[in-house]
Amino acid sequence: MGRVLSSDLLKIRRKGLWLLAVSGPFGIVALQALNFGIRYDYLTKKYADDLWGGLIENIALLVPVTVLAGVTLISSLIANVEHQTNSWKQLLALPVPRTAVFAAKFLLSVILLGVSCALLAWGTAALGVALGFGWDFPAVKILKISFLPFLASLPFLALLLWMSLTVRNQAAPVAIGLLAAVCSLFAGQLPEFVPLAWPLLAAGPPSGLRLAVGGGVLLGALILLVGAVHFERRDVD
Protein backbone atom coordinates (compact mmCIF):
# COMPACT_ATOMS: atom_id res chain seq x y z
CA MET A 1 0.00 0.00 0.00
CA GLY A 2 2.98 2.25 0.59
CA ARG A 3 3.72 2.09 -3.12
CA VAL A 4 0.17 3.12 -4.04
CA LEU A 5 0.27 5.97 -1.53
CA SER A 6 3.56 7.24 -2.91
CA SER A 7 2.01 7.12 -6.38
CA ASP A 8 -1.04 9.02 -5.11
CA LEU A 9 1.15 11.68 -3.55
CA LEU A 10 2.72 12.22 -6.95
CA LYS A 11 -0.65 12.39 -8.72
CA ILE A 12 -2.00 15.22 -6.57
CA ARG A 13 0.86 17.51 -7.53
CA ARG A 14 -0.36 20.81 -8.95
CA LYS A 15 -3.97 19.83 -8.22
CA GLY A 16 -4.45 22.44 -5.52
CA LEU A 17 -5.11 19.85 -2.82
CA TRP A 18 -2.28 21.07 -0.61
CA LEU A 19 -3.53 24.61 -1.06
CA LEU A 20 -6.97 23.48 0.08
CA ALA A 21 -5.45 21.75 3.10
CA VAL A 22 -3.70 24.99 4.04
CA SER A 23 -6.60 27.33 3.33
CA GLY A 24 -9.00 25.67 5.84
CA PRO A 25 -7.00 26.41 9.00
CA PHE A 26 -5.80 29.70 7.52
CA GLY A 27 -9.43 30.76 7.04
CA ILE A 28 -10.39 29.94 10.63
CA VAL A 29 -7.39 31.75 12.08
CA ALA A 30 -7.86 34.76 9.81
CA LEU A 31 -11.54 35.02 10.76
CA GLN A 32 -10.70 35.00 14.46
CA ALA A 33 -7.84 37.45 13.89
CA LEU A 34 -10.43 39.77 12.37
CA ASN A 35 -12.92 39.10 15.16
CA PHE A 36 -10.39 39.76 17.92
CA GLY A 37 -8.74 42.58 16.01
CA ILE A 38 -11.97 44.58 15.58
CA ARG A 39 -13.47 43.84 18.98
CA TYR A 40 -10.20 43.62 20.90
CA ASP A 41 -11.23 45.71 23.92
CA TYR A 42 -14.65 44.14 24.24
CA LEU A 43 -13.43 40.55 23.91
CA THR A 44 -10.40 40.92 26.16
CA LYS A 45 -12.68 42.35 28.84
CA LYS A 46 -15.21 39.54 28.33
CA TYR A 47 -12.53 36.82 28.61
CA ALA A 48 -10.34 38.71 31.12
CA ASP A 49 -10.11 35.63 33.42
CA ASP A 50 -8.97 33.28 30.67
CA LEU A 51 -7.84 35.00 27.49
CA TRP A 52 -6.55 31.79 25.88
CA GLY A 53 -9.73 29.96 26.83
CA GLY A 54 -11.79 32.63 25.09
CA LEU A 55 -9.77 32.42 21.91
CA ILE A 56 -9.88 28.63 21.86
CA GLU A 57 -13.64 28.67 22.40
CA ASN A 58 -14.13 30.98 19.44
CA ILE A 59 -11.83 28.92 17.21
CA ALA A 60 -13.54 25.67 18.24
CA LEU A 61 -16.92 26.96 17.08
CA LEU A 62 -15.68 27.14 13.50
CA VAL A 63 -13.81 23.82 13.46
CA PRO A 64 -16.67 21.33 12.83
CA VAL A 65 -18.10 23.09 9.78
CA THR A 66 -14.62 23.63 8.32
CA VAL A 67 -13.56 20.04 8.92
CA LEU A 68 -16.72 18.65 7.30
CA ALA A 69 -16.38 20.95 4.30
CA GLY A 70 -12.71 19.96 4.05
CA VAL A 71 -13.56 16.25 4.25
CA THR A 72 -16.11 16.69 1.46
CA LEU A 73 -13.87 18.62 -0.90
CA ILE A 74 -10.70 16.60 -0.28
CA SER A 75 -12.37 13.23 -0.81
CA SER A 76 -14.10 14.42 -3.96
CA LEU A 77 -10.97 16.00 -5.42
CA ILE A 78 -8.90 12.92 -4.68
CA ALA A 79 -11.46 10.73 -6.42
CA ASN A 80 -11.62 13.17 -9.32
CA VAL A 81 -7.93 12.70 -10.08
CA GLU A 82 -8.88 9.22 -11.31
CA HIS A 83 -12.37 9.97 -12.63
CA GLN A 84 -11.33 12.87 -14.81
CA THR A 85 -9.60 10.86 -17.50
CA ASN A 86 -10.89 7.36 -16.84
CA SER A 87 -7.80 6.23 -15.04
CA TRP A 88 -9.56 3.57 -12.99
CA LYS A 89 -9.22 0.93 -15.68
CA GLN A 90 -5.51 1.58 -15.92
CA LEU A 91 -4.93 1.78 -12.18
CA LEU A 92 -6.98 -1.29 -11.30
CA ALA A 93 -5.44 -3.40 -14.09
CA LEU A 94 -2.10 -2.98 -12.33
CA PRO A 95 -0.90 -5.78 -10.09
CA VAL A 96 -2.09 -4.23 -6.85
CA PRO A 97 -4.95 -5.28 -4.55
CA ARG A 98 -7.96 -3.01 -4.87
CA THR A 99 -8.20 -2.79 -1.10
CA ALA A 100 -4.72 -1.24 -1.13
CA VAL A 101 -5.89 1.36 -3.67
CA PHE A 102 -8.90 2.17 -1.51
CA ALA A 103 -6.89 2.32 1.71
CA ALA A 104 -4.23 4.52 0.10
CA LYS A 105 -6.84 7.08 -0.93
CA PHE A 106 -8.20 7.09 2.60
CA LEU A 107 -4.75 7.48 4.07
CA LEU A 108 -3.97 10.31 1.66
CA SER A 109 -7.12 12.14 2.82
CA VAL A 110 -6.11 11.58 6.46
CA ILE A 111 -2.63 12.94 5.77
CA LEU A 112 -3.95 16.07 4.03
CA LEU A 113 -6.55 16.74 6.73
CA GLY A 114 -4.02 15.91 9.45
CA VAL A 115 -1.77 18.61 8.04
CA SER A 116 -4.75 21.00 8.21
CA CYS A 117 -5.29 20.12 11.88
CA ALA A 118 -1.62 20.63 12.72
CA LEU A 119 -1.62 23.98 10.94
CA LEU A 120 -4.74 25.00 12.85
CA ALA A 121 -3.05 24.21 16.18
CA TRP A 122 0.03 26.15 15.16
CA GLY A 123 -2.04 29.07 13.82
CA THR A 124 -4.17 29.26 16.98
CA ALA A 125 -1.09 29.45 19.18
CA ALA A 126 0.51 32.01 16.88
CA LEU A 127 -2.65 34.16 16.87
CA GLY A 128 -2.88 34.13 20.67
CA VAL A 129 0.74 35.14 21.01
CA ALA A 130 0.29 37.87 18.43
CA LEU A 131 -2.76 39.17 20.33
CA GLY A 132 -0.53 39.50 23.38
CA PHE A 133 -2.07 36.66 25.41
CA GLY A 134 1.41 35.56 26.48
CA TRP A 135 3.55 32.53 25.70
CA ASP A 136 2.09 30.13 28.24
CA PHE A 137 -0.58 28.81 25.92
CA PRO A 138 -2.57 25.65 26.87
CA ALA A 139 -0.98 23.31 24.33
CA VAL A 140 -3.08 20.24 25.15
CA LYS A 141 -6.32 22.16 24.84
CA ILE A 142 -5.28 23.64 21.51
CA LEU A 143 -4.30 20.24 20.15
CA LYS A 144 -7.60 18.81 21.35
CA ILE A 145 -9.80 21.30 19.53
CA SER A 146 -7.61 21.02 16.42
CA PHE A 147 -7.50 17.25 16.07
CA LEU A 148 -10.46 15.70 17.92
CA PRO A 149 -13.24 17.16 15.71
CA PHE A 150 -11.45 15.57 12.75
CA LEU A 151 -11.36 12.16 14.47
CA ALA A 152 -15.06 12.55 15.19
CA SER A 153 -15.63 13.28 11.48
CA LEU A 154 -14.01 10.04 10.26
CA PRO A 155 -17.39 8.37 9.54
CA PHE A 156 -18.09 11.20 7.09
CA LEU A 157 -14.67 10.89 5.50
CA ALA A 158 -15.09 7.14 5.04
CA LEU A 159 -18.62 7.49 3.65
CA LEU A 160 -17.95 10.43 1.33
CA LEU A 161 -14.70 8.95 0.02
CA TRP A 162 -16.43 5.65 -0.68
CA MET A 163 -19.20 7.47 -2.55
CA SER A 164 -16.78 9.71 -4.44
CA LEU A 165 -14.61 6.78 -5.51
CA THR A 166 -17.47 4.61 -6.75
CA VAL A 167 -19.80 7.16 -8.31
CA ARG A 168 -18.51 9.10 -11.25
CA ASN A 169 -20.85 12.03 -10.77
CA GLN A 170 -19.57 13.94 -7.77
CA ALA A 171 -22.72 15.99 -7.25
CA ALA A 172 -24.28 13.62 -4.71
CA PRO A 173 -21.31 13.18 -2.35
CA VAL A 174 -20.45 16.90 -2.49
CA ALA A 175 -24.06 17.91 -1.83
CA ILE A 176 -24.38 15.51 1.09
CA GLY A 177 -21.06 16.62 2.55
CA LEU A 178 -21.80 20.33 2.32
CA LEU A 179 -25.27 19.82 3.73
CA ALA A 180 -23.73 17.97 6.67
CA ALA A 181 -21.23 20.82 7.11
CA VAL A 182 -23.95 23.45 7.23
CA CYS A 183 -26.14 21.37 9.57
CA SER A 184 -23.19 20.86 11.91
CA LEU A 185 -23.48 24.57 12.78
CA PHE A 186 -26.69 23.70 14.59
CA ALA A 187 -25.44 20.36 15.89
CA GLY A 188 -25.79 21.56 19.47
CA GLN A 189 -29.50 20.82 19.20
CA LEU A 190 -28.95 17.22 18.14
CA PRO A 191 -28.95 14.23 20.53
CA GLU A 192 -25.44 13.00 21.34
CA PHE A 193 -25.72 9.65 19.56
CA VAL A 194 -26.20 11.26 16.13
CA PRO A 195 -22.85 11.19 14.26
CA LEU A 196 -23.43 14.70 12.92
CA ALA A 197 -23.29 16.02 16.48
CA TRP A 198 -19.87 14.46 17.09
CA PRO A 199 -17.52 16.99 15.45
CA LEU A 200 -18.91 19.74 17.71
CA LEU A 201 -19.01 17.49 20.78
CA ALA A 202 -15.39 16.52 20.24
CA ALA A 203 -14.35 20.15 20.67
CA GLY A 204 -16.36 20.49 23.87
CA PRO A 205 -16.31 19.21 27.45
CA PRO A 206 -14.99 15.71 28.28
CA SER A 207 -18.44 14.18 28.91
CA GLY A 208 -19.50 14.14 25.26
CA LEU A 209 -15.97 14.06 23.94
CA ARG A 210 -15.35 10.39 24.66
CA LEU A 211 -18.50 9.27 22.82
CA ALA A 212 -17.78 11.61 19.89
CA VAL A 213 -14.18 10.54 19.33
CA GLY A 214 -14.63 6.87 20.18
CA GLY A 215 -17.77 6.63 18.10
CA GLY A 216 -16.15 8.55 15.25
CA VAL A 217 -13.16 6.26 15.04
CA LEU A 218 -15.18 3.06 15.38
CA LEU A 219 -17.95 3.98 12.95
CA GLY A 220 -15.35 5.40 10.56
CA ALA A 221 -13.43 2.11 10.60
CA LEU A 222 -16.63 0.14 10.03
CA ILE A 223 -17.71 2.21 7.02
CA LEU A 224 -14.17 2.06 5.64
CA LEU A 225 -14.24 -1.73 5.87
CA VAL A 226 -17.63 -2.05 4.15
CA GLY A 227 -16.51 0.42 1.47
CA ALA A 228 -13.28 -1.50 0.85
CA VAL A 229 -15.14 -4.80 0.45
CA HIS A 230 -17.58 -3.23 -2.00
CA PHE A 231 -14.76 -1.53 -3.92
CA GLU A 232 -12.94 -4.87 -4.18
CA ARG A 233 -15.92 -6.61 -5.73
CA ARG A 234 -17.45 -4.02 -8.01
CA ASP A 235 -17.17 -3.99 -11.80
CA VAL A 236 -15.09 -1.18 -13.25
CA ASP A 237 -16.52 0.57 -16.28
Binding site: K11, Q84, K89, L94
Partner: protein, 304 residues
Protein backbone atom coordinates in the same frame (compact mmCIF):
# COMPACT_ATOMS: atom_id res chain seq x y z
CA UNK B 1 0.02 -25.69 -31.71
CA UNK B 2 2.19 -23.92 -29.20
CA UNK B 3 1.03 -23.23 -25.66
CA UNK B 4 -1.90 -20.90 -25.12
CA UNK B 5 -1.13 -17.66 -23.31
CA UNK B 6 -4.76 -16.77 -22.97
CA UNK B 7 -7.55 -19.28 -22.99
CA UNK B 8 -11.13 -18.55 -22.08
CA UNK B 9 -13.77 -21.20 -21.67
CA UNK B 10 -17.41 -20.34 -22.32
CA UNK B 11 -16.89 -16.84 -21.06
CA UNK B 12 -20.19 -15.02 -20.49
CA UNK B 13 -21.17 -11.64 -19.15
CA UNK B 14 -24.74 -10.56 -18.87
CA UNK B 15 -26.12 -7.14 -18.13
CA UNK B 16 -29.71 -7.13 -16.96
CA UNK B 17 -30.35 -10.51 -18.47
CA UNK B 18 -28.88 -9.64 -21.86
CA UNK B 19 -25.71 -11.52 -22.80
CA UNK B 20 -23.06 -8.96 -23.82
CA UNK B 21 -20.50 -11.74 -24.11
CA UNK B 22 -21.89 -15.14 -25.00
CA UNK B 23 -19.78 -18.29 -24.51
CA UNK B 24 -16.58 -16.89 -25.93
CA UNK B 25 -13.61 -19.22 -26.28
CA UNK B 26 -10.49 -17.23 -27.00
CA UNK B 27 -7.25 -19.04 -27.72
CA UNK B 28 -4.15 -16.93 -28.02
CA UNK B 29 -0.77 -18.52 -28.61
CA UNK B 30 2.59 -17.25 -27.40
CA UNK B 31 4.38 -14.77 -29.61
CA UNK B 32 1.51 -13.98 -31.94
CA UNK B 33 -0.40 -10.83 -32.62
CA UNK B 34 -4.03 -11.65 -32.16
CA UNK B 35 -6.50 -9.32 -33.82
CA UNK B 36 -9.79 -9.17 -31.97
CA UNK B 37 -12.40 -7.85 -34.35
CA UNK B 38 -16.00 -6.89 -34.26
CA UNK B 39 -18.33 -3.96 -34.76
CA UNK B 40 -18.83 -1.46 -31.96
CA UNK B 41 -20.85 -2.94 -29.15
CA UNK B 42 -20.10 -6.53 -30.12
CA UNK B 43 -18.52 -7.31 -26.76
CA UNK B 44 -14.81 -6.69 -27.44
CA UNK B 45 -14.24 -4.27 -24.60
CA UNK B 46 -16.36 -6.30 -22.19
CA UNK B 47 -14.27 -9.38 -23.00
CA UNK B 48 -11.04 -7.45 -22.57
CA UNK B 49 -12.18 -6.04 -19.25
CA UNK B 50 -12.84 -9.56 -18.08
CA UNK B 51 -9.34 -10.61 -19.17
CA UNK B 52 -7.93 -7.82 -17.02
CA UNK B 53 -10.08 -8.65 -14.01
CA UNK B 54 -11.82 -5.28 -14.16
CA UNK B 55 -15.21 -6.95 -14.34
CA UNK B 56 -16.21 -10.40 -13.21
CA UNK B 57 -17.56 -12.96 -15.69
CA UNK B 58 -21.12 -14.09 -15.15
CA UNK B 59 -20.04 -17.54 -16.24
CA UNK B 60 -17.02 -19.30 -17.69
CA UNK B 61 -13.35 -19.05 -16.87
CA UNK B 62 -10.22 -17.20 -17.92
CA UNK B 63 -6.80 -18.79 -17.88
CA UNK B 64 -3.75 -16.67 -18.55
CA UNK B 65 -0.22 -18.10 -18.54
CA UNK B 66 -1.91 -21.39 -17.63
CA UNK B 67 -3.22 -20.00 -14.37
CA UNK B 68 -6.72 -19.16 -13.27
CA UNK B 69 -7.34 -15.42 -13.35
CA UNK B 70 -9.77 -15.72 -10.49
CA UNK B 71 -7.25 -17.27 -8.15
CA UNK B 72 -3.97 -15.64 -9.18
CA UNK B 73 -5.06 -12.26 -10.45
CA UNK B 74 -2.20 -10.14 -9.13
CA UNK B 75 0.41 -12.65 -10.23
CA UNK B 76 -1.04 -12.65 -13.76
CA UNK B 77 -1.54 -8.88 -13.96
CA UNK B 78 2.13 -8.42 -13.08
CA UNK B 79 2.99 -9.84 -16.51
CA UNK B 80 0.34 -7.97 -18.51
CA UNK B 81 0.43 -4.47 -19.88
CA UNK B 82 -2.85 -2.95 -20.95
CA UNK B 83 -4.41 -0.02 -22.72
CA UNK B 84 -8.20 0.01 -22.58
CA UNK B 85 -9.99 2.34 -24.99
CA UNK B 86 -9.17 6.02 -24.60
CA UNK B 87 -5.77 6.70 -23.07
CA UNK B 88 -5.67 7.19 -19.34
CA UNK B 89 -3.37 9.96 -18.31
CA UNK B 90 -3.07 12.57 -15.63
CA UNK B 91 -3.15 15.74 -17.76
CA UNK B 92 -1.57 17.99 -15.16
CA UNK B 93 1.51 15.78 -14.97
CA UNK B 94 4.34 15.48 -17.48
CA UNK B 95 4.93 12.29 -19.44
CA UNK B 96 7.69 11.27 -17.05
CA UNK B 97 5.54 11.95 -13.98
CA UNK B 98 2.68 9.94 -15.47
CA UNK B 99 4.98 6.98 -15.90
CA UNK B 100 6.53 7.55 -12.48
CA UNK B 101 3.08 7.32 -10.87
CA UNK B 102 2.70 3.86 -12.41
CA UNK B 103 6.32 2.89 -11.83
CA UNK B 104 5.93 3.46 -8.08
CA UNK B 105 3.15 0.89 -8.01
CA UNK B 106 4.94 -1.61 -10.25
CA UNK B 107 8.21 -1.11 -8.40
CA UNK B 108 10.48 -1.40 -11.44
CA UNK B 109 13.81 0.46 -11.77
CA UNK B 110 13.63 4.13 -12.69
CA UNK B 111 15.65 3.49 -15.85
CA UNK B 112 12.60 1.75 -17.36
CA UNK B 113 10.90 5.13 -17.83
CA UNK B 114 13.56 6.39 -20.21
CA UNK B 115 13.56 3.02 -21.99
CA UNK B 116 9.83 2.93 -22.67
CA UNK B 117 9.77 6.58 -23.72
CA UNK B 118 12.51 5.73 -26.19
CA UNK B 119 10.53 2.73 -27.45
CA UNK B 120 7.46 4.83 -28.24
CA UNK B 121 9.48 7.82 -29.45
CA UNK B 122 8.46 10.34 -26.80
CA UNK B 123 11.91 11.08 -25.35
CA UNK B 124 11.80 14.63 -26.67
CA UNK B 125 8.46 15.42 -25.02
CA UNK B 126 9.18 13.69 -21.74
CA UNK B 127 9.08 16.85 -19.65
CA UNK B 128 5.92 18.38 -21.13
CA UNK B 129 2.51 18.25 -19.43
CA UNK B 130 0.45 15.57 -21.12
CA UNK B 131 -2.61 17.77 -21.61
CA UNK B 132 -0.73 19.47 -24.47
CA UNK B 133 -0.13 16.16 -26.27
CA UNK B 134 -1.87 15.15 -29.49
CA UNK B 135 -4.14 12.12 -29.30
CA UNK B 136 -1.49 10.02 -31.05
CA UNK B 137 1.13 11.04 -28.49
CA UNK B 138 -1.23 10.27 -25.62
CA UNK B 139 -1.91 6.88 -27.11
CA UNK B 140 1.82 6.23 -27.43
CA UNK B 141 2.26 7.29 -23.81
CA UNK B 142 -0.46 4.78 -22.96
CA UNK B 143 1.53 2.06 -24.71
CA UNK B 144 4.67 3.21 -22.88
CA UNK B 145 2.77 2.84 -19.61
CA UNK B 146 1.65 -0.63 -20.65
CA UNK B 147 5.25 -1.60 -21.40
CA UNK B 148 6.65 -0.24 -18.14
CA UNK B 149 6.44 -3.47 -16.19
CA UNK B 150 8.20 -5.48 -18.93
CA UNK B 151 5.06 -7.52 -19.64
CA UNK B 152 4.93 -10.82 -21.48
CA UNK B 153 1.52 -9.97 -22.83
CA UNK B 154 0.13 -6.71 -24.12
CA UNK B 155 -3.63 -6.13 -24.27
CA UNK B 156 -4.59 -3.14 -26.40
CA UNK B 157 -8.22 -2.17 -26.85
CA UNK B 158 -8.82 -0.03 -29.94
CA UNK B 159 -5.35 1.56 -29.79
CA UNK B 160 -5.81 3.33 -33.12
CA UNK B 161 -9.30 4.64 -32.50
CA UNK B 162 -9.59 8.30 -33.45
CA UNK B 163 -6.04 8.64 -34.74
CA UNK B 164 -5.07 10.22 -38.05
CA UNK B 165 -3.43 8.02 -40.72
CA UNK B 166 0.13 8.80 -39.65
CA UNK B 167 -0.78 8.16 -36.02
CA UNK B 168 -2.32 4.83 -37.01
CA UNK B 169 0.82 3.92 -38.93
CA UNK B 170 3.06 4.75 -35.96
CA UNK B 171 1.02 2.67 -33.54
CA UNK B 172 0.86 -0.20 -36.04
CA UNK B 173 4.63 -0.26 -36.51
CA UNK B 174 5.05 -0.15 -32.75
CA UNK B 175 2.75 -3.11 -32.25
CA UNK B 176 4.32 -5.11 -35.05
CA UNK B 177 7.72 -4.77 -33.40
CA UNK B 178 6.55 -6.17 -30.06
CA UNK B 179 6.75 -9.94 -30.69
CA UNK B 180 9.94 -9.63 -32.74
CA UNK B 181 11.94 -7.26 -30.58
CA UNK B 182 10.60 -7.91 -27.12
CA UNK B 183 9.03 -11.35 -27.34
CA UNK B 184 5.69 -9.95 -26.27
CA UNK B 185 2.38 -11.54 -27.25
CA UNK B 186 -0.17 -8.95 -28.29
CA UNK B 187 -3.95 -8.89 -28.24
CA UNK B 188 -5.21 -5.93 -30.22
CA UNK B 189 -8.87 -5.16 -30.76
CA UNK B 190 -10.39 -3.06 -33.50
CA UNK B 191 -13.61 -2.57 -35.39
CA UNK B 192 -11.67 -2.22 -38.65
CA UNK B 193 -10.27 -5.30 -40.30
CA UNK B 194 -7.96 -3.24 -42.49
CA UNK B 195 -6.12 -2.01 -39.41
CA UNK B 196 -5.58 -5.44 -37.98
CA UNK B 197 -4.89 -7.50 -41.09
CA UNK B 198 -1.55 -5.80 -41.62
CA UNK B 199 -0.18 -6.83 -38.27
CA UNK B 200 -2.16 -9.75 -36.89
CA UNK B 201 -1.26 -13.38 -37.45
CA UNK B 202 -4.53 -14.67 -36.04
CA UNK B 203 -7.92 -13.05 -35.92
CA UNK B 204 -10.98 -13.63 -33.81
CA UNK B 205 -14.23 -12.04 -34.94
CA UNK B 206 -16.95 -11.39 -32.44
CA UNK B 207 -20.51 -10.41 -33.24
CA UNK B 208 -23.29 -9.76 -30.79
CA UNK B 209 -21.24 -11.35 -28.05
CA UNK B 210 -20.42 -14.51 -29.96
CA UNK B 211 -17.22 -15.65 -31.62
CA UNK B 212 -18.06 -16.21 -35.27
CA UNK B 213 -14.56 -16.76 -36.61
CA UNK B 214 -11.23 -17.64 -35.06
CA UNK B 215 -8.33 -18.70 -37.23
CA UNK B 216 -5.18 -17.47 -38.96
CA UNK B 217 -5.32 -14.46 -41.22
CA UNK B 218 -4.25 -16.71 -44.16
CA UNK B 219 -7.29 -18.84 -43.63
CA UNK B 220 -9.42 -15.72 -43.75
CA UNK B 221 -7.67 -14.64 -46.96
CA UNK B 222 -8.28 -18.05 -48.55
CA UNK B 223 -11.98 -17.58 -47.94
CA UNK B 224 -11.91 -14.39 -49.92
CA UNK B 225 -10.84 -16.21 -53.14
CA UNK B 226 -11.27 -14.13 -56.21
CA UNK B 227 -13.25 -14.66 -59.39
CA UNK B 228 -12.38 -13.80 -62.99
CA UNK B 229 -14.54 -11.48 -64.98
CA UNK B 230 -14.28 -11.60 -68.77
CA UNK B 231 -15.79 -9.06 -71.16
CA UNK B 232 -16.31 -10.47 -74.66
CA UNK B 233 -18.18 -9.54 -77.85
CA UNK B 234 -20.88 -12.25 -77.58
CA UNK B 235 -21.09 -13.15 -73.92
CA UNK B 236 -23.95 -15.65 -74.10
CA UNK B 237 -22.37 -17.79 -76.79
CA UNK B 238 -18.99 -17.53 -75.17
CA UNK B 239 -20.37 -18.65 -71.80
CA UNK B 240 -22.02 -21.67 -73.39
CA UNK B 241 -18.77 -22.60 -75.02
CA UNK B 242 -16.91 -22.30 -71.75
CA UNK B 243 -19.52 -24.28 -69.83
CA UNK B 244 -19.18 -27.02 -72.41
CA UNK B 245 -15.43 -27.08 -71.70
CA UNK B 246 -16.18 -27.76 -68.04
CA UNK B 247 -15.65 -24.33 -66.51
CA UNK B 248 -18.12 -23.04 -64.02
CA UNK B 249 -19.45 -19.54 -64.39
CA UNK B 250 -22.40 -17.32 -65.01
CA UNK B 251 -23.41 -14.11 -66.69
CA UNK B 252 -23.16 -10.96 -64.66
CA UNK B 253 -24.02 -7.55 -66.18
CA UNK B 254 -23.12 -8.74 -69.65
CA UNK B 255 -19.82 -10.18 -68.48
CA UNK B 256 -18.77 -13.71 -67.77
CA UNK B 257 -17.93 -14.36 -64.17
CA UNK B 258 -15.82 -17.48 -63.63
CA UNK B 259 -15.01 -19.20 -60.39
CA UNK B 260 -11.75 -21.04 -60.96
CA UNK B 261 -8.88 -18.73 -61.02
CA UNK B 262 -5.51 -20.41 -61.42
CA UNK B 263 -3.29 -19.04 -64.19
CA UNK B 264 -3.53 -22.11 -66.44
CA UNK B 265 -7.31 -21.98 -66.49
CA UNK B 266 -7.30 -18.31 -67.42
CA UNK B 267 -4.85 -19.01 -70.25
CA UNK B 268 -7.03 -21.85 -71.56
CA UNK B 269 -10.17 -19.71 -71.37
CA UNK B 270 -8.64 -16.85 -73.32
CA UNK B 271 -7.17 -19.21 -75.87
CA UNK B 272 -10.50 -20.97 -76.39
CA UNK B 273 -12.40 -17.73 -76.75
CA UNK B 274 -9.94 -16.31 -79.27
CA UNK B 275 -9.96 -19.53 -81.29
CA UNK B 276 -13.74 -19.32 -81.48
CA UNK B 277 -13.49 -15.76 -82.81
CA UNK B 278 -14.80 -13.94 -79.79
CA UNK B 279 -13.27 -10.57 -79.24
CA UNK B 280 -11.87 -10.49 -75.72
CA UNK B 281 -12.07 -6.93 -74.41
CA UNK B 282 -11.08 -7.36 -70.79
CA UNK B 283 -9.97 -10.06 -68.36
CA UNK B 284 -10.17 -8.86 -64.82
CA UNK B 285 -9.61 -10.43 -61.49
CA UNK B 286 -12.28 -9.55 -58.99
CA UNK B 287 -11.16 -10.16 -55.43
CA UNK B 288 -13.62 -9.95 -52.68
CA UNK B 289 -11.75 -7.72 -50.31
CA UNK B 290 -11.13 -8.96 -46.79
CA UNK B 291 -13.22 -6.05 -45.65
CA UNK B 292 -16.18 -7.33 -47.69
CA UNK B 293 -15.66 -10.78 -46.29
CA UNK B 294 -15.43 -9.34 -42.79
CA UNK B 295 -18.66 -7.44 -43.29
CA UNK B 296 -20.23 -10.59 -44.61
CA UNK B 297 -19.13 -12.60 -41.56
CA UNK B 298 -20.19 -9.86 -39.21
CA UNK B 299 -23.47 -9.46 -41.08
CA UNK B 300 -24.37 -13.15 -41.18
CA UNK B 301 -22.86 -14.07 -37.87
CA UNK B 302 -23.63 -17.35 -36.21
CA UNK B 303 -27.26 -16.40 -35.99
CA UNK B 304 -30.21 -16.86 -38.32
Amino acid sequence: MSEWIIQTKDLCKSYRGRLAVDHVNLNIARGEIYGFLGPNGAGKTTTIRMLLGLIKPTRGSVEIFGKSLKREKLHILRKIGSLVEYPSYYGHLTAVENLEAIRRILDVPKTRIAQVLETVGLTKDAKRPVKGFSLGMKQRLGIAAALLGEPEMLILDEPTNGLDPSGILEIRELIKAMPKQHGITVLVSSHLLSEVEQMASTVGIIRQGRMVFQDTIESLRRQSEGSISVAVSEPEEALLALLRMGFRGKLENGRIALERTDDQSVARIVKALVEQNHAVYRVEEKRKSLEELFLQIVGEGGGA
